[in-house]
Amino acid sequence: MSEQRTAGVRDVARGVAWRSIHNFLTNPAFLVPSLLFPLFFFVSFAGGLAAIGEVPGFDFPSGYTAFQFVFVLLQSAAFGGVFTGFAMARDFESGFGRRYMLAAGHRSGIVLGYALAALFRAFVTWTVLSAVALVAGMEIAGSGGEILALYALAVLVNVAATMWAAGVALRVRSIQGGPLMQFPVFLVLFLAPVYVPLDLLSGWIHAIASINPVTAMLEAGRGFISGDPVLVIAAFAMGLVLSVLFALWAKGGLRSAEAGG
């Protein structure tokens, strides 16, 4: 019975993921912003703020390009999830989501399918972003394992953001819920040490960044790329806890969508 259920969830997830990925790859309106936004941020931050690397007290060993690459990587991971939430909301607004609900024997597979599509979107973006960063001369001091750990952290960010956005999309079931998916993610990302390390922040932004869960992930990611890992356990624990909490939030959204017909 349990095996049957797993197979059912897997089939639904595969179908939903395939359609979502197909839409993403064949519609330039979805594909282009996903690729361009992170690149614009990377180019703007790494190119326009390079002089920040000369600020007294800024001693990131791999240079400012690598410092910003980690932020943009995690940001694109998060927004890959949010954009997938948009697709989900659009599907429910157009009535396609309702057809999913009627057709799927195991509805948790719907959320899983969108999550797989979000991960695929993120991988496409990361491939382009990483290639651009390397061409731009980004220095990587971390080992292969450390770089893998950086991308694993980004996967956790992607899963957490997708689950957050799915929970909103399934409750609101309209693209009008877009700002609600996007703004909190934007807020929590930019209230972390984006431009300089935590130690160089002061005042209110230091206080907020110190308790912001993204800070630990960002600092761990920067530690990985510079070959000097810090806050590794805290960062992965934070990523896992957020993923589980938002998965429960998405599950509640699924119940809400079921109740809403």
Binding site: S44, G47, A50, P193, W204
Partner: protein, 259 residues
């Protein structure tokens, strides 16, 4: 509707203003989002003032110019989306049956953007000054700053009108937002032009008109009265407005012929 141009503009301006004021979803993000980024950038980048050659010891004063441009970018979306909705709902077709002049339609539609521009400029300036930013040009400078900001907002608004008339779709207008953000991102937004140490970035920022709009605003905040920077800023804004209005007029003619 009377056929006098003033009356036509007045009627459409009133409609545009009322429609803007009735849409908090247009006003709130246009004010809150730039102020949020102002706060984050000020907190995160204030150490930049220790770089040799940085023009002020207050990063807040330096970065306060950015919300004015970001707010103007929202004007592209707002004016364009409103007109696109008029096209999509057939309202423009109905207007085409009246003796309405094209100039009246375009000027009237920009009234909402103008009012929002004033509200935005006053809000950014008030929040900036309360937070501790300096205004080197004094009270007169504040007035000129609001005037410059509104000029930029209206200029960008004409591009929104052109996009709406050319494409006839709100979604297409929304799609322009990232394109315009690129201009902001590839400018001397977060550091002065002289401190952009990456060669290619410096080259792009040097030819990006947004850099000079920012410098005009910054001149009032940081230096006082720099007539050269101000003239360049107003000149660029007026040029963008003239190009946008010409393109929008041409697109309007094509659209009215098409409909």
């Amino acid at each position: 509707m009377s056929s006098s141009l003033g009356n036509q503009v007045g009627q459409l301006a009133r409609r545009s203003i009322v429609r803007t004021l009735r849409q908090p979803a247009q006003i709130v993000p246009a004010i809150v989002f730039p102020l949020f980024l102002l706060a984050v950038n000020t907190g995160g980048l204030k150490d930049a003032t220790s770089l040799p050659g940085f023009p002020t010891d207050s990063y807040l004063t330096f970065i306060l110019a950015v919300p004015f441009i970001q707010g103007a970018l929202f004007s592209v979306m707002n004016s364009g989306t409103d007109l696109a909705r008029d096209i999509e709902t057939g309202f423009l077709n109905r207007l085409a049956l009246t003796p309405l002049r094209g100039a009246a339609l375009l000027s009237g539609l920009l009234a909402g953007a103008t009012v929002l521009g004033v509200v935005q400029a006053v809000a950014y300036l008030a929040v900036g000054l309360i937070a501790g930013a300096e205004m080197a040009a004094g009270a007169g400078g504040a007035l000129v700053l609001v005037l410059l900001s509104v000029t930029i907002t209206v200029a960008f608004g004409t591009i929104g009108l052109f996009a709406a008339l050319r494409f006839g779709s709100g979604e297409a207008v929304q799609g322009l937002f990232p394109v315009f953000f690129v201009f902001l991102f590839l400018s001397a937004m977060t550091l002065p032009l002289d401190l952009l140490t990456t060669d290619w970035f410096h080259a792009i920022a040097s030819v990006n008109p947004v850099t000079y709009l920012l410098e005009a605003i910054r001149s009032l905040l940081i230096e006082g009265w720099n007539l050269g920077d101000l003239a360049l800023g107003f000149g660029i804004a007026l040029a963008i407005g003239a190009v946008g209005m010409t393109a929008a007029s041409s697109a309007l003619k094509s659209r009215l012929v098409r409909t």
